[in-house]
Symmetry: C2
Subunit: 289 residues, 2 copies
Amino acid sequence: MMSTQTSEPRTNSSSTMHSSPMEAGRQRQGRLWSNLKEVCDLLHITAAVSVNTEELLFQHVQFKTGQRVHTIGQAFDTLYIVNSGFLKTVLIDEFGNEQVLSFPMKGDMLGVDGIHTRHYASEAVALSDCDLILLPFKKLTALGRVHLELENVMYGVMSRELVREQAMIGMLGALSAEARVARFLVSLADRFAAMGYSSKLFNLRMTRHEIGSYLGLTLETVSRTLSAFNEIGLITVDQRTIGIKDADALKTLRRLPPSRSRAKQTSAAAKQKAELGQPGDDQVLATTI
Amino acid sequence: MMSTQTSEPRTNSSSTMHSSPMEAGRQRQGRLWSNLKEVCDLLHITAAVSVNTEELLFQHVQFKTGQRVHTIGQAFDTLYIVNSGFLKTVLIDEFGNEQVLSFPMKGDMLGVDGIHTRHYASEAVALSDCDLILLPFKKLTALGRVHLELENVMYGVMSRELVREQAMIGMLGALSAEARVARFLVSLADRFAAMGYSSKLFNLRMTRHEIGSYLGLTLETVSRTLSAFNEIGLITVDQRTIGIKDADALKTLRRLPPSRSRAKQTSAAAKQKAELGQPGDDQVLATTI
DNA sequence: CGCGAGATTGACTCGGGTCAATAGTAGTGG
DNA sequence: CCACTACTATTGACCCGAGTCAATCTCGCG
């Protein structure tokens, strides 16, 4: 039934553009293109690209929810930059189990893991309709001879990704389930803020299962932890709508009240609820892409 | 008691060389230097460095056991390649706890995480006397203008490191304690083999505590797991001397399969074709639009 | 409207963390 | 050479955090 095909994405001509903001891009031949300057801005890389690069254009491509951008083992030839939309990258183990590695969004680069072996080492799937900028790798390296600053841009992006993964390893190796979920929420909030969305109220683009896979937890643990945060007033939860109520507490959280509060929830939980005031179920609209 | 100070390493002149093999390097001005070709060989990067690069020399530096190569936050200016010896890289959290990120050895590159912010994001400590090759980053990028293949070497190394960290995340997120220890041993064995040492009998250069930190486990669990492997004949253990008896069993050991959503077994059929690019069965949404 | 995927919640189990006691090993100095 | 000390490793006892299994509940969509 639902074929998860890697069907041809459309390199948009007159196609349906989605509603998310689109800073970069211009029409030409009925397609979207971006120049090097815009690409660097998107990456938040402060590269002095002084020369006129108007003739140096990179094409955009659109992917719809569920489509794969690349799969594991596929021959590598291009890098991607997310201009809008949300994705996940996953590893597939020998039994077909998914391990989520990251949730790329605007300004993130995809495909870097393919450079080494010339085959993508992970799979990238669109969690929403996406607009990606294509960076053909050969073109990129060829450009390095003309625009030397490009080299540093690439080093910076790859190094940044490496640091991000190091932080991930640190988190998986050392933090409790609650701390992982808390930091995940904070990091999401920060990224939304960086993109100009609200950091206090947003929609998760991924399932509990995917969050759990990303954090090395089960979906039940993720769900329970979100409920617990909700109960003590750190956040509000309504399905995929998350409201951040106490970002500082989330940032520094290591472990929830160790023992007693959980055993007898009738007393302890109720008491906490009373102390903190009614969490109240305010449902508000979240940012939509 | 070894003070772990960051005292000046010696850029060897007549200094004590340790016992490990030293393929690359030549004497000049009483110091060891390597050319680009040797550096690439060390990295196992198949870069066609055709031109004569004899005048392009990189200096070696020695570090003694316990010395730090770089610390977190220190200004970044050079990359390192391990020519001989063993190290660990660690993250330090807000309470001073170490989180081991990797155990670099011959052919590995250090310092890449400093490129992005121009400050090292991790700390590198020598676990044995080490011989490292210095790659001043400015020199490296300057060289990119003359030797264009160097750019690809760097991309390859960084991408390789990224893939390694991805695998680490996958392991921490999905595998049981036994599986982690088993794979750790196998990967060590493979790396020793690649360096020309025995893959069947080797010495660990790190403590149980460091192994545990690396694998997201406690030192007790590591110790117990090694003892258990010893008891069922997979390995022999005597302090830091490890003998691999059944590498295949170690490679495939799982205990505690992350349990997959999927139907209850008939797994034999499902498992055999763990091919790349295979969409597999469940996962992945799809929304055929 | 009914179906199916996702989310929530409860009850139970157990892997691995914690605490603690013991023993093996190495470096230092008398 | 042997004690003295500090580190490292092994093992046992206990128990808690998170995984497992399972029963609803909700919601979006055809």
